[in-house]
Point group: C2
Chain length 197, copies 2
Amino acid sequence: MSPIEDLTRELQRLPGIGKRTALRLAYHLIKGEKEYIHRLARTLVRVADHIHPCPVCGNYCDGKLCSVCSDPSRDRGVICVVEEAYEVGAIERAGRYRGLFHVLGGRLSPLDGIGPDTLNIEGLVHRIEEAEAGPQEVILATNASVEGEATAVYLESLLRPHEVRVTRLARGIPVGSDLEYVDGTTIAEALAGRREM
Amino acid sequence: MSPIEDLTRELQRLPGIGKRTALRLAYHLIKGEKEYIHRLARTLVRVADHIHPCPVCGNYCDGKLCSVCSDPSRDRGVICVVEEAYEVGAIERAGRYRGLFHVLGGRLSPLDGIGPDTLNIEGLVHRIEEAEAGPQEVILATNASVEGEATAVYLESLLRPHEVRVTRLARGIPVGSDLEYVDGTTIAEALAGRREM
């Protein structure tokens, strides 16, 4: 098999990339600078060799601890629980959160065979139990999907015996959106969660 | 900069891949098997090191000549001219063409600074002039866009002095499409090119 076919086949294994896109990418790479291909390959190897989950929170890092866990200025009293590592970035970009994170590595989904043991849940309980000055609050920032909610409910019941406040992100109208286009369930949640002005 | 950010930045340079997709791809790679990342990197290096344009037709190959030019069973009497190398595959997949190819490497587009000298046009004229038993026919299979048509018109005028039949792909209704959704220009071309049943 020619290197072009090989490359097309490998690219097709990426999410959202079908045969036609893979072909287009392969030919784009071949037509472009060789130096870019080499740099991309080197970066891939560097990621494969050096990136690993942070032993404390499960976020990806290339050092001993991730940049949040190793930052002494972060508030150790709050842990924000997310499903996937890339969601840490979404919260960090919002620029408001100064606490720690905990990455589950997915969400409960029994139909896909993902139960509590598959996720990084034991690590979360461990962090709450073991820490001398444990966190006062755990924010459940799982997604607002059925599985995300189920995961949050499960975690809440698991953490209830511990002396820790368990909260979740507010549901409501996304900033900048027209009420007309917001679905009924979201409006119902926004009504239930209404606040004094 | 962390390897993840590096990888995201490199992936963003690919066509059709924005910041969000690049992030999603990077995290997908990191979450998956390391072996796949290494294999992808190796394939990229192999492509960069071994793939080059065929000296005869300009298609990409990893040998001395491309698979079409080196195939003795192909009809050397016809050359099909395409804009890009990946279009060779589109014609090959149709399974009807047994002649040779010639890849221009683009199309005339003066606004983008792409003139005849930028394209592999000299090579085409050379193939027609030099071959002992030159081709009897050149099929212009440039795209049915304004630039593609302009390129075909230019090539036709260039090849006219040579003893070679110059044809282009038929324009008409795409197989399987509803007349209702076909644009007027295509219908006009299909009418002009109508054939006896």
